[in-house]
Every structure is written in C-alpha cells, then in structure tokens.
C-alpha cells in the first residue's frame, strides 16, 4: 500500500471514528437531557471557521501556517465531519423557518459542491493525462486559434496546389465550425467526443474524392483534428476543475453570513444557551 493510499485510509478511519463518536455523544447527550443542539452548534461553527480558513491560507502563502497539502487534507476530512455534525444538529425534519431552510440549503450545497470538487479532482486529472498533451488552461484559446489558422492555411494550400475546392468546401462546412467550437460545460463527465468523431469520419469519407496531393494535406488535417480533440478535452476538463469553485466559494461566504445570523438569533432568543 503506497503512502497516499495509507494516508487516505488512516484519515478516513479517523474521520469515521469521529463521526461515530459524535453520533454516540449526541444520542447519549439527548438521553441525558443535555442541550446537545448547543454543543453541536458550537462545534459546527468552529469547524466551519476552520474549513473557511483554508481559503485564507491560500491567500497568505508566505505565512508559516503549514503546508497546503495538510490544509487540504484537513479541509476534506473536517468537511465530511461537519456534514455529519450538521445532519445531527439539524435533525431529520424539514427546516420550518425561512432562515433555517436557507441555512440548510446553502450548507448542503456547499457540502455537495465540495464533494463534487473532491471527486472531480480525483477522477478527472488521470483522464486528462491520458488524453494527450497537457496544456496550460490560460493558453488554450490561443492554441485553438493557432489550430484554426493552421487548418485554414492547409486548406488554402490544397486549393492552390491541387486546384480543387473539395477540401475548401469541406473546411467551410465541417472543419471551420469544429475548430471554432468550445466544448460544453459537462462534456468531460460524459466523455463526449461525438463532434470529433463526426468530423474525423467525414474527413475519412472525403478521401475517395481527393487527389494524392490533397490526401497528404488531409492526413495533416487529421492530425489537427486529433490535436483539437485533446485541446477540447483539456479545456473542458480544466474549466470544470475551476468552475466548481464558482459554486463552492460564493456559497461558503453566504453560509458564513447565514451562520452568523443564526448564532445571533440563538444567543438572543434561546433560553437554554
């Protein structure tokens, strides 16, 4: 068992043990007529603040606050713990107040987006590596433009050298839209290569009408199609790896605000706290 897997097992077991211990404490505390909602709420607020500090840690890389990896591991497993604690705290019933419902919805959305991001960060990178050349996300639009230019140049070359508009027509109808397109948001999850296969299939079908010179250029176009496929895969994958944070982070800040309101209300109105 490698170190990474051992660590994952260890932390998972520790987290599970903590969840079981909290559940037992909640149950026993309830039987002993203790204000378990108060205790679980306090612990949950503390956990949420620690989880939110992960973002702060990323903004302050120069401070000796531990490695980002350690923070990430804590963020992941403390996140799971907070979900269990939240479910204990909120109880099995549907929230009855507007604020309670908002808190419930936002917390679960934060947790769900976090879990989705965690899964994505484990599932997608190996697939992107297998897809082909790894690309810097910010450069992908420029590379797409470059591929478009290269394809255009090849077609013009074929038109000039072979005095045939077969490839030019094909480029106008099929290749140009394909090279210009950007993949859909969730195409990595569906492993959607349909557009690439369709363009490749049509290029292959076109070969019977091509001259020898055009065939050579068609081979180069096929290479460009493959490059575009990888480009799309890299782009869509990396975009998804970035976009889940567009849900997770805003909701986290919203959650912190709602939690603060909830805590104020509890301290203000409850007679048991």
């Amino acid at each position: 068992m490698n170190t990474l897997r051992a660590r994952r097992w260890l932390l998972s077991v520790v987290t599970l043990a903590a969840v079981l211990a909290l559940t037992a404490a909640w149950w026993l505390g309830g039987i002993a007529l203790r204000p378990v909602a108060k205790y679980s709420g306090e612990l949950l607020v503390l956990l949420l603040l620690l989880l939110a500090l992960f973002n702060v840690r990323k903004k302050l890389p120069f401070l000796p606050l531990g490695s980002a990896t350690a923070w990430l591991q804590f963020h992941i497993y403390a996140g799971w713990l907070s979900v269990a604690l939240f479910l204990l705290h909120a109880g099995p019933q549907w929230p009855r107040s507007a604020l309670g419902f908002a808190l419930w919805l936002v917390f679960l959305s934060v947790a769900a987006s976090g879990a989705f991001g965690l899964w994505l960060s484990r599932w997608l990178p190996p697939r992107l590596t297998r897809s082909g050349e790894s690309l810097v996300y910010e450069r992908i639009p420029r590379l797409r433009h470059q591929l478009e230019d290269e394809a255009g140049n090849l077609v013009r070359q074929a038109e000039t050298e072979a005095a045939s508009s077969t490839l030019a027509d094909f480029h106008r109808q099929v290749l140009a839209p394909y090279f210009a397109r950007t993949p859909t948001l969730f195409s990595p999850l569906a492993e959607d290569d349909a557009a690439h296969h369709r363009a490749g299939h049509e290029l292959a079908s076109l070969r019977r009408y091509l001259s020898e010179r055009e065939m050579l250029i068609a081979d180069q176009l096929a290479e460009l199609l493959e490059a575009k496929r990888n480009l799309d895969a890299q782009y869509a994958g990396q975009r998804l790896l970035k976009l889940w944070l567009f849900v997770h982070l805003p909701l986290t800040y919203g959650l912190l605000v709602l939690v603060a309101a909830h805590v104020w209300l509890v301290l203000h109105y409850s007679h048991r706290f």
Binding site: A32, L33, R34, L135, Y137, L255
Partner: protein
C-alpha cells in the same frame, strides 16, 4: 507523432498572468501585447515593445516569443515601429470568481439583514410553528422571549429560570414546580434512599448516559420542545430519557421494571371496609345473603373519566345491612347523645359561702357535658371560672376553697345563662359561642344539629321554671333569692300519664299551681289522658332533640347516615388538643357511639390537619398522581373472575390494624394482594399495547390546577 502545441523552450513561452483581473483582448488570437491591461481593465497597448535607447539610437526590444527584433525598428521618436491596435480586455476567470463571491456575500448580508429587521424577523427567523395551544396564547415572540431574559450578562441558568417562570405563570405545577416530579427535595431524598430493585441488568446506554451526571438544570424546555409544528406532542419523551435520572434503571417495562410492591394499595382506604370478612363471612350469612351484592358493580362504578373506581354510595352499597345500626334502631339503651345537662352543684355549700344560686334541682347529677364545656369556653368569664375551679367537683364543695366556691358559683350561673340563652335565643347562641371558641373551623350551622329551642323551653319549664327571671336579675347584678329546691317529675317515660291516675306520691302535685302548670306544659299536647308516651328517644326516631327529666339532660339523636351534627362535631374536634374537644371526639368516635361514624370512616393526619374521611376516594382533577390507570379501558380484558382477575384477596392480612388509633394513611395493609406486574405485561409489550413510561406514569405530580386563569388576559369588563 504530432509536434507539441506548447513550446517547452523557456524564452519561446509567453508569460501568463492568470492571477490578473484582466486579460488582453487579443490573447486568444495569440497576439497579446506584452504590457497587458491596466488595473481597471484599460488597454495599455502601444507597440510590440518599448524601444530602448542605446547611446543615441533606439533599439527594438521585442521578445523572442514575438519574433525578436522587428524589421522596421523603432521610430525616430522612440516609439515602436510595430504599433499594436488597442483591444478590449476581458475579465480573467479568477476575477469573475471574485465578483461572484462578493455578490453572494452581499446577497447573504442582505438576506441576513432581513432577519435582524424587526418587521421581517418574526416571519423569517421563527424556527417553526408553535403548538396549537401556545399559538393562541403567545402571538408575539416577546411573550415568551422577554427582553429581560435577553438582557446582556444573563447567565444561561438565569435565562432558563426566567423562562420557566413564564411557563409556570399559566401552568400550575404545584409548590415544587422545578423539582423533579414536583416533589420536595426532602421527599425526593426519602424516595431515593431505598430505590426499588430492577429485575435485570442496567442497559449499557443508560449506564453511559448516567455517567454524564445529572442535568445541571432541569428547565421546562429540556423536555418540552416548542416550535416543532402545530400538532407536535410537547409531552413526548423517550423512555430512556425518563430513566436517566432514576436510580433504578431497566430495559423496558416487560424487562426489568421493578415488581409492584403495594400498587395500588399504598394508601389506606378512606372507608374501613374489610372485603375479605364481608365476602367470606357476612355475605354468606343467611341473615344477609338476600341483600348481599352479587357483583362488584353493585357497589362500585367507574368515574366518568374511566380511571378511578368509585363506591356507589351508602344507600346503594351499605344501607341494606348497616342502616339500622347507624340509626340506632338496634341499639340498647339511650340512642342519643347528651348535649346539655343540669350538672350537680353543692348548692348548700355555695349558699353557706354567700353565693346566691337561685333555684337548682336536687336531682341534678353528673358534670358538664363536653359540648357544654366547649360552649361555655366560648365566653371569657366562664372560661376563667372553669379554669379557677380546676379539678374540683362542683357537686361536693365541702372541702373546696373559697375561691373554688366562688368559681363554682360563677360556673353555675354560666350554665344557667347558657340554658337561658338556648331557650330564649335558640340556635344562634350555639353558632355565636362556637364561632368564639377554639373550634371556629367547625361547620357552625351543622354544629347546631338544628337545635330545637322548644325542646329546651320545655326542659327549662320542667327543670328550672324561674330560670329566665333569675338570669335576667343576675345579669342586672341583683342578688337572687334562694328558692326551694326544684323537684322534677319524670314525664318522658312510657308509663301512663293521666291526671286522675297521677301518682299520689308525685311531688309535682304538691307544687303551686303555677309551677305545676308550667312543669307539665310539655305534656299539654298529649290530649287523651289514656295514651302512653313512648320513650323520648323513640319519638325522634329519624333524628332530633329530646329531653330526659330523670337525668335533667337534653339529648340529640342522629338522623341516620351522614348526620350533619355528628359530621360537624367529629370534623371540628378531630386532632384538637383541648380536653373538651378530645372528650367530644372520643365520645363520638367510639364504636358504640350513636351513628357509629368512625367504625367505617377513617381519620387521617395530614399536613393541613386531622381530617375525617367522610367521602370515599373521588377523582381529583387538580391532583396528578405518579401512576395512572384507566379501569374502563381494561373491562373488556377481564376473565371469568371479573374484577378479581386483578384484585385478589390477601386473606389473613391485618386490614383492621391499619385503622383504629392509626392516623397515618400511609401505614396500611390491604386485604387485597398487590397487583402483579405479570398481569400487565401480558398485554403491555412493545408489539401489543405498548409499554412506554408515559402510558402509566405522569412526570408532573402533585396538586395543581390544569391551567391558571390569567386575569390580565380577561376582557376589561369582567376583570
């Protein structure tokens, strides 16, 4: 293999700035300018490089990644020879994320702000609907969550206590509202000193929960959780939660609950009714067999709530056998009580000592009755005289001191005054004197026993014909002349009373005419001379007042069951320490006393005093017992044995020993065997009738009103 899209040669690479807010609008076309957009998203493009001046020449500084030095080179004024057309910078992904985060933060703050706004707070922050009952009584948050409770610096315990007081304002939970089970701490300590033993091991979960220690504070809200919906059961609590405070812990009612020790016979019955002797001895007796009940239902009936079984009452349950005994029909001797008597006084000694006594019968015997003494003590002068007389017998004052003789004379005049007042004023005299006496709590009107002034008048005319004049003179302060001793004729016997056949030896016939006529006035209604008088007590067979001339006594005969006079005097003297009260109580409580009240009715010492249990156990809506049982719900489960399916006799139990001199209702040996838990667990199992604690037990116990009226909540008109 196709060439790589990205160059790995460092100086061929563009310098990416993903952290920047803005990206050059031409970056996607591969011709981003080297300066990039400004902080506010403005394009800063001028040319492909910033030419550098070397010596006196401008040199192109274009990056290798852009093709190195350009062919036209810098212009003479030092500007780039390859100008870059301006672009429209676009926001970076990171910038968009930041904007969305800020927007979400602001929206959340706005939403949270609504929670802090008083107008929307009740709607948005209300954690859930109140139960129907509380939704009516508490329409504002402040009704329960008062400002005082939210005052800064309030401890949690103080806030909870404050809130509990709000609960108690409406819900009366007795004097120990916040104590476990509403029981005083001392009583709780007593109860927990020897807890009943469970019949199984303690559940592990309770061992663990108990290890947390007792709750530091048992606030109302620890069990009653509001804001859980209109139909939420506020009284719902888990069995484990019930047990966590208990010393005896067990798995379930059917598994470990202690066996019943004395349930439901912990308290002594209010009536002394020996079921065993009645069923096994009296009901089988041929004399009573015809009127003996054939089923329990003939004597018992369920209360309207179905819980308590009531005794149907004397007429239905007891009268057939015991009425004659109570009315005194079978009683040998006098059937009434001596209420008033002309006691013996040594009138000679008093006269010799210079105390005028007026007329007084020679045949007077005995001392003051306890009733008379009680009434006399209602007057200060008489009370002082009685105290001065002490133990001296007023009927023999030969050895008495002068002071005692004087006291005896005062007592004599007090008796005369009482007698005269009874004759002239009747019942109000008794009421007035009782009100002034230590027995003020005695039911005054009932205590008169509907006293008959006419009976007293007849007695006065027979015994002391000049009483009224003498008392009037004495009260004026005049000296009353000595009169010849009165000799009273017996007029209430069964013998024939005729004018012609009057006993020649009867002293009455020698009396002056006026005396004779007044002495016989009581006999005036007896018109036919040949008729006989029945015994005086027989003439008031259903209760009333009569006199006995031979003993100079005025009697009261009780009028059957629940006689008001006996109830008033027994109730008023029970537990009193005054000698007169004790004598009255002893006289009335004897088994052979008229009415024989305390032969069946028990007497309890309670914290509020000693009470005679005139009534059998009744439903008390204001009293919540720890254990409840609904008889009516179990009738269909009775077997062939009927009620005895559960209530079995404990033959040989010293039931009678629980009564008599014992005044503690907790000391009791029932003549029924304690209920067996097994008789309940046949049905009360989880899969059948359930076995939760709350099916049989109440948490809040004691005497309490169901709901306290809130005067402030009443409309102004009826406040």
């Amino acid at each position: 293999m196709r060439r790589l899209l990205q160059s790995i040669i460092y100086n061929r690479k563009l310098y990416d700035r993903p952290q920047d807010k803005w990206i050059c609008g031409r970056a996607a076309e591969g011709c981003a300018c080297i300066y990039g957009p400004g902080e506010k998203g403005e394009c800063r493009a001028t040319g492909q490089c910033l030419p550098a001046k070397k010596n006196d020449r401008w040199v192109c500084t274009r990056a290798i990644s852009l093709g190195a030095a350009c062919e036209p080179g810098p212009r003479p004024d030092g500007t780039c020879g390859c100008p870059v057309p301006p672009c429209r910078p676009v926001r970076s992904l990171r910038s968009w994320r930041g904007r969305i985060v800020r927007a979400a933060f602001v929206v959340s703050l706005g939403a949270a702000g609504l929670v802090f706004w008083n107008r929307t707070r009740p709607t948005l922050a209300n954690p859930g609907p109140l139960t129907n009952q509380h939704a009516v009584s508490a329409q504002q948050c402040n009704t329960c969550h008062t400002e005082a409770m939210r005052a800064p610096g309030q401890s949690r315990a103080a806030r909870a206590a404050e809130h509990d007081q709000l609960c108690i304002r409406c819900h009366d939970l007795g004097p120990h509202a916040t104590s476990p089970h509403g029981v005083a701490e001392s009583e709780l300590a007593l109860l927990t000193r020897r807890p009943p033993a469970a019949s199984g091991p303690r559940p592990a979960v309770l061992v663990a929960a108990t290890a947390l220690g007792p709750p530091e504070q048992l606030a109302c809200a620890a069990c009653h959780r509001e804001h859980q919906g209109a139909d939420f059961d506020l009284k719902r609590i888990a069995d484990l939660q019930c047990q966590v405070c208990h010393k005896t812990q067990f798995r379930a009612f059917s598994d470990g609950h202690p066996e019943f020790s004395d349930y439901p016979y912990a308290r002594r019955t209010r009536l002394q009714f020996d079921h065993v002797s009645h069923f096994q001895k009296h009901f089988t007796d041929a004399r009573w067999a015809s009127v003996a009940p054939s089923s329990c239902a003939q004597c018992h009936t369920p209360a309207p709530t179905g819980e308590k079984m009531l005794v149907r009452g004397f007429e239905a349950a007891c009268a057939a056998c015991h009425n004659a005994e109570i009315e005194g029909r079978d009683r040998a001797g006098d059937k009434g009580l001596v209420f008033f008597r002309l006691p013996a006084f040594d009138t000679n000694a008093l006269e010799e000592a210079g105390h005028a006594v007026g007329e007084w019968p020679l045949t007077a015997e005995g001392g003051l009755t306890p009733f008379m003494r009680w009434l006399l003590e209602g007057e200060a002068d008489a009370r002082a005289a009685l105290a001065a007389l002490g133990d001296q017998d007023p009927g023999d004052l030969r050895r008495a001191t002068a002071e005692q003789k004087a006291a005896a004379a005062r007592v004599l005049w007090a008796v005369k005054g009482l007698f005269a007042d009874l004759v002239t004023q009747g019942q109000p005299v008794i009421v007035r004197r009782l009100a002034a006496s230590p027995a003020a709590q005695l039911a005054l009107s009932a205590g008169t026993g509907q006293f008959s002034p006419d009976a007293a008048l007849a007695a006065q005319q027979a015994w002391l014909p000049n009483l009224l004049a003498e008392v009037a003179a004495h009260r004026r302060g005049e000296k009353v002349a000595r009169r010849a001793p009165v000799v009273v004729a017996r007029t209430t016997s069964t013998r024939t009373v005729t004018a012609e056949a009057a006993d020649p030896d009867d002293l009455l016939i020698d009396l002056p005419t006026d005396r004779k006529s007044s002495a016989t006035a009581a006999n005036a209604p007896v018109a036919p001379a040949t008729l006989k008088f029945d015994e005086a007590d027989a003439r008031v067979a259903t209760g009333g007042w009569y006199r006995q001339d031979d003993t100079l006594t005025l009697h009261y005969r009780p009028g059957g069951h629940a006689d008001g006079f006996l109830r008033a005097w027994l109730g008023g003297t029970a537990g009193r320490t005054e000698p007169a009260a004790q004598k009255i109580f002893a006289q009335l409580s004897a088994n052979n006393a008229p009415g024989a009240c305390l032969k069946c009715h028990s007497v309890d010492h309670t914290p509020s005093g000693t009470v005679v249990n005139w009534l059998t156990s009744r439903p008390q809506p204001e009293v919540r017992a720890f254990t409840r049982f609904k008889h009516s719900a179990h009738f269909s489960l009775m077997g062939d044995q009927g009620c005895m399916t559960c209530h079995t006799f404990a033959v040989g139990a010293d039931y009678a020993g629980s009564f008599g001199a014992n005044r503690d209702p907790a000391i009791f040996r029932s003549n029924f065997a304690p209920m067996s838990k097994a008789s309940c667990t046949n049905c009360h199992q989880p899969a059948r009738s359930g076995e939760s604690c709350q099916q049989c037990h109440n948490y809040h116990t004691g005497e309490m009103q169901v709901l306290r009226a809130q005067a402030a909540a009443l409309p102004g008109k009826i406040k």
